[in-house]
Amino acid sequence: MKTAELAAKLGATIVTGKAGIDKEIKGVYCCDLLSWVMSHAGKDSAWITVHTHMNIVAVAVLSEIACIIIPEGIEAEEATIKKAVQENIPILCTGLTAYEVCCIAHDCGI
């Protein structure tokens, strides 16, 4: 499923505009320990994290993560959004919990 389609199913806001929204999502990974994410997240995953600082973009790029999902109504930082646009990493913000995001992604066949 494409990032834009998942965003629609989640009712999430894509805060990075059109950057990377056609990327195909192959899985979901949820973790807030950055080194753990780099060692375990699968390529082309949607990554759910509560972090909003710029390093999440670097982690996503280096780990070949398709998009970042920030749950629980947390707002992404402006500098992070700018960097994500540059690096073609979509950021989706949603009021849902990580669990709810996973359930919906599962129902979508991810």
């Binding site: 950055l34 080194s35 390529k43 390093n55 982690v59 280096l62 070949e64």
Partner: protein, 138 residues
């Protein structure tokens, strides 16, 4: 090809720029994505360690037709007990750093896992040199 990057101390916001830039270079060179990830992730871990634990330093990267050699050099406190530091979960990161999602104690284990060769030279108060080699064809 030889590349040199300064790694600023305690500038976490910009940490990882050297690794990201090297990754882009490897993509341009058409290197196998699996090899690129190995190099990029291990370099990022070493770079972040230089920022958080080593007080900044520099990166020297050599790319040739069959491999990339990455040296991350800092002049920080060194690693007192390397064997202990290599264990998954061992960290001395502060609470502030941990709140940002660093400090899982997984950086060195990740380097070990992703690098084809890893060498760490470290001495108390003299700093640390991490050398990572990733081969492009193997």
């Amino acid at each position: 090809m030889n590349l040199h990057y300064e790694i600023p101390s305690d500038d976490l916001a910009h940490a990882g720029e050297a690794s990201s830039s090297v990754k882009k270079m490897l993509v341009q060179l058409g290197i196998d994505p699996v090899r690129i990830k190995k190099a990029a992730v291990s370099m990022y871990e070493a770079e972040i360690n230089a920022v958080i634990h080593g007080g900044g330093g520099s990166a020297e990267v050599t790319i040739d037709s069959d491999k990339i050699v990455i040296r991350i050099i800092d002049n920080g406190p060194g690693i007192a007990d390397l064997e202990l530091a290599m264990q998954e979960g061992y960290t001395t990161a502060s609470d502030d750093i941990r709140e940002m999602g660093f400090g899982a104690g997984m950086g060195l284990p990740n380097m070990k896992r992703y690098a084809d060769e890893l060498d760490i030279q470290t001495r108390p108060d003299k700093g640390t040199i991490v050398t990572i080699v990733v081969y492009f064809h193997q």
